[in-house]
Amino acid sequence: MAESPTIGVLALQGAFVEHATMLRGLGVDVREVRLPAQLRGLAGLVIPGGESTTIGKLLVAYELLAPLRELIAAGLPVFGTCAGMILLAKDIGGLEQPLLATMDLRVRRNAFGRQLQSFEADLRVPVLGERPLRAVFIRAPVVEAVGLGVEVLGWLDDGRIVAARQGRLLVTAFHPELTDDDRLHRYFLEQVVGLGHGEKRALTHAFASGDRPL
């Protein structure tokens, strides 16, 4: 019997349990990742919301930063939400904090303000279909600019970018793990990681950079 694919959830700090619960609900095995050895053999990785400064420092302290960069360069699918998006971005406006810096994005931290400006909104995300996505923004970042090869997946009404994909990297400024709507996690598993519908089998690198989802 083939082993079912395992999706890692970076568990240094933040809302990793919520992501793990959502992923398990979609039928995949989940492994919490806190140390480099736990990166072995993952079909994909989720970097949760939390404090990007804290997560970044712990990535450095436990020597996860370099191996993760190598895995991403080799094609590891990654889904980053909020702090995860900040950690994946190449440019966060010159702030001094450790980053993975693997995605051609310019991201602004706390772009909407402090906690009092945290909000919920209905987003149009065309790749998920007609039904709007309820998105929760908490001291959220925003994508200010995207590089070549980055596909914008979701916008606020004012046009600001809050969801994007570049090859096997998927990011959102908001927290799908705080809602009951699992469409983005499903999209990540099926269209970014490349798992077959309903079967726990990894399809080999079905989607290259810029490909349209099926």
Partner: protein, 293 residues
């Protein structure tokens, strides 16, 4: 678009899980805390150990100081108001803090009523010693809970007692048939709806941190293994000999709380911890955990 919803209020606490929130009294402290890996800081004029030593009435900190700390760091900043002092809470909301701690560390302003936290856009965290107290605070609108412990003592014993008491009551409720929920709600002094919800889901509806007495990396990991979602450290960092070093070690022990070899590693050769206080030597009327109900 809706601002300050229940989901965004309790959601910020969810983002702090697995992390350490540190008490700081200056912008310089706040930077040291951020550099050590704190997920948030609590801005105040004096840490609990100094409040305890000074005696008298402890009040909300100078808003000017809190604003300086907010400017100094990019992580969330919390601040304390007195139990029941809803105007101090209004002031803290007006200056835009990220979370208000309605705290027993300050001298209570109302011995009967806590702040009606539903009336605010800013989220609140409140202390508890048992499940009933936790659910009463959530009923009033607290979006985050922390067990009280005994602040400013560097002694973990009360934090352990309170966390075990809360967790034990949750385990009991999980196995309780619905016909017993009302009597349990009466016994706990907690809203029936919250008791019923907890019995069904098996966990508190908001994040629960541990506070009051954490002084070492092992203390932090102990509270995490007992079921805390994260850690508040008040006096334990900036009353120790080397706050930057101890802060970073407590952060690592909180992340890797189940990894004893790693906790051993970060505990090696640390400069002195804060001096501790034996709880039995504190006069009953000076126990902070007994403030609030």
């Amino acid at each position: 678009m809706e601002e300050s919803t229940w989901t965004t209020k309790k959601g910020l606490a969810q983002m702090l899980k697995g992390g350490v929130i540190m008490d700081v009294v200056t912008p310089e402290h706040a930077k040291i805390a951020e550099e050590a890996g704190a997920v948030a800081v609590m801005a105040l004029e004096r840490v609990p150990a100094d409040i305890r030593a000074a005696g008298g009435v402890a009040r909300m900190s100078d808003p000017g100081l809190i604003l300086q700390i907010m400017d100094a760091v990019s992580i969330p900043v919390m601040a304390k108001c007195r139990i029941g002092h809803f105007v101090e809470a209004q002031v803290l909301e007006a200056i835009g803090v990220d979370y208000i701690d309605e705290s027993e560390v300050l001298t209570p302003a109302d011995e009967e009523h806590h702040v009606n936290k539903h009336a605010f856009k800013v989220p609140f965290v409140c202390g508890c010693r048992d499940l009933g107290e936790a659910l009463r605070r959530i009923g009033e609108g607290a979006a985050m809970i922390r067990t009280k412990g005994e602040p400013g003592t560097g002694n973990i014993v009360e934090a352990v007692r309170h966390m075990r008491t809360v967790m034990d009551a949750i385990r009991r409720l999980r196995n309780m048939p619905p016909d017993e929920w009302m009597a349990e709600a009466k016994k706990l002094g907690a809203p029936y709806e919250l008791v019923a919800e907890l019995a069904k889901t098996g966990h508190l509806p908001v994040v629960n941190f541990a506070a009051g007495g954490v002084a070492t990396p092992a203390d932090a990991a102990l509270m995490m293994q007992l079921g805390a979602d994260g850690i508040f450290v008040g006096s334990g960092i900036f009353k120790s000999e080397d706050p930057a070093q101890r802060g970073a070690a407590i952060v690592k022990a909180t992340t890797h709380y189940q990894d004893a070899a790693l906790i051993a590693e970060v505990s090696k050769g640390l400069a002195k911890a804060m001096p501790g206080i034996e709880i039995g030597t504190i006069k009953a009327e000076e126990l902070m955990a007994k403030r609030g109900w």
